[in-house]
Amino acid sequence: MKSNTADSFSYYRHLLTETALPGQEAAWLASLRQREFDRFLQNGFPSRKQEDWKYTSTAALANTAFEINLQTQPLDKNRYEKTNPFIRLEYHTMVFVNGIFNKTLSHLDNLPKGVVLKEIIQAILSNEISSEAQFENNAHRGKPSCHGFSTLNIALMQSGFYLAVPENCTIEKPIHVMYIACDTPYEAHLHNHIVMEKGSHAHLIEHYIGLDKMSYFNNVISDIFLKEEALLNHCKITAESEDAFHIATTRTTQGRSSTFKSYSFASGGKLIRSDTHTLLKEKESEALLQGVFIAKNQQHIDHHTYIEHASEHTRSREWYKGIAHDKGRGVFNGRVRVEKGAIGTSAEQRSNNLLLSREAEIDTKPELEIFNDDVRCAHGATVGYLDEEALFYCATRGIPLKEARFLLTFAFVKEVVDTLENPHLRSILMYIMQSVLEDQIQC
């Protein structure tokens, strides 16, 4: 139903007008929603004719018609505790179930003074976000991250979180936000808003996890604002159910000498499209983007990154690793743009991919767009099977082929996981990746 037809438009019009979307008390939000919806009507969903969607068709979303939840969704405490791998570490935890914030399961008692972490609609109603100007990530207006899904996200936004870290505040423990899907299909338009004031430091884990075999749709935007010298370590784990749709855009605007470290691990979901866009807006800001995806069965996992160097002496490094197995398809599109005045830029990009089966496919496109000469930019991409010489080496040490394949595949992924600073996160991710691979690499 959600192809670009009058049908899908009227379906969404129905959602917009008939659903009691929260936060309408804020007049600016109500009017913004309407404008974003009008924009959606104009442009519809992205099509494969658009370069940014060349390898990813969203047509499979067409036959779905999910409801948007507005009430708290039940989740058994025991079940939740089994789901949260960090439970014993007592991270600052926000739990959302089927798109709705669940206060009972969350753990937000020990946040440092001045840190605000709350449900986004509440932040709007209590005027922590008090205007459209404050809400919007304007620097990304008209850029590739603005498409049908992102306009719809704002039009239908029903939940998400708001995080504000005050000046020079360091949050020692990671913040763990869990979006859990269980029991009943739904559609959620989740909007996260993160503001890191000058000199603040935080570690954020955005964790999407599906517990039951069912189809649902998470449409996410995370808007991140890094002020001068702020540092955000952002880890996104996408472990949705096998039949789930997940479309997410993380867009960051970086102030002077700020650092954005982004990690994206995607292994679960039928269709995953995960965009990380960062604007190095002020000088000496730095971005590190890394990721791993494992596409198996019939999964389609597409990562797009867009790094804009808009100021002097900005740096970026990027490293994505992808695995496609069975009939899985992995897509990586990394775009680096260096603006005219952005002298002294350095940008490095690597995309390494393993293709493990005859039915699988990898498409990779590392792009450089450079508009001044004082730059040092490089990228590299590889696609291939496991290193035959390494397999032979393992064999001469007596290790059976099957085991050697697993070993090398696991090692391929581990190289990126090893760059994470948090040892707990590292071991949790290794565990997740290991179970995904053990399950699959039986060729």
């Binding site: 032979f392 080496y393 393992c394 001469t396 007596g398 070993l407 090692a411 190289e415």
Partner: protein, 246 residues
């Protein structure tokens, strides 16, 4: 222990070995010497079972079995070990992980239970001392960023752990300074016993000053053209390959 008869082999369409006969008995040390391109490394790869080489004729019997029917991992489990001239780097796989996986694969093949972590650490520490390697090597990725000497010592460490019946050392001396060469040679000598055999493949006589072979064979253009005892290597040193081959 191993009997090679009329072995012929090719890579792609190109013949490299043109009829090799070689018998090695338990307790012996053999050295195969030859100029570049004579087929020395090919022989070692074929013994280990590299898939790129095609055996076009002849046979290899190893401890009563037809070696050529076994895939590389099973040959290793049966006690054939190849110390590589250029050990491959495997980023992301820690040395200790590979060693343990290799040892357990061999133990499984022998019908033994997998070794527990504690026993394994005890064992590996003893072996590390043998090649004078620091424990921190265990936690680095296999050969990744190792110096030439470290790679070669790492090969001998693996050999020490896996206790092969037939160890093939392919140009193990290349790229080693004199101190590292002595350490490697001591390691190999201490692992040698009456129950196992060693096949050294080398271009120069240098290694043979430290590991004394019982038999020396000279390989040229895919054939063994001359065999003798250790003195043949000395002769070779004075006359050069050209002097012997003509």
């Amino acid at each position: 222990m191993i009997e090679i008869r009329g072995l012929e082999a090719a890579i792609g369409e190109k013949p490299i070995l043109k009829g090799i006969d070689l018998t090695i008995k338990a307790g012996e040390i053999h050295a195969i010497m030859g100029p570049n391109g004579s087929g020395k490394s090919t022989l070692s790869k074929i013994l280990a079972g590299h898939p790129d080489y095609t055996v076009t004729g002849g046979s290899i019997r190893y401890q009563g079995i037809d070696l050529l029917t076994l895939p590389a991992d099973q040959r290793a489990q049966q006690g054939i070990f190849l110390a590589f001239q250029y050990p491959v780097e495997i980023p992301g796989v820690s040395n200790i992980y590979l060693l343990k996986a290799a040892l357990n694969a061999k133990r499984r093949a022998q019908g033994l239970a997998e070794i527990d972590a504690f026993d394994f650490m005890q064992l590996i520490k003893a072996k590390l001392a043998l090649v004078q390697m620091d424990e921190k090597f265990l936690h680095r990725a296999v050969n990744a960023g190792f110096s030439g000497g470290e790679k070669k010592r790492n090969e001998i460490l693996q050999m020490a752990l896996l206790e092969p019946t037939l160890a093939i050392l392919d140009e193990t001396d290349s790229g080693l300074d004199i101190d590292a060469l002595k350490i490697v040679a001591q390691g190999v000598n201490s692992l040698h016993s009456k129950d196992n055999a060693i096949l050294l493949i080398t271009h120069y006589q240098r290694l043979l000053d430290y590991i004394i072979p019982d038999h020396v064979h000279i390989l040229s253009n895919g054939k063994i053209i001359r065999s003798g005892d250790a003195s043949l290597a000395t002769l070779l040193e004075t006359k050069g390959y050209a002097g012997i081959i003509q």
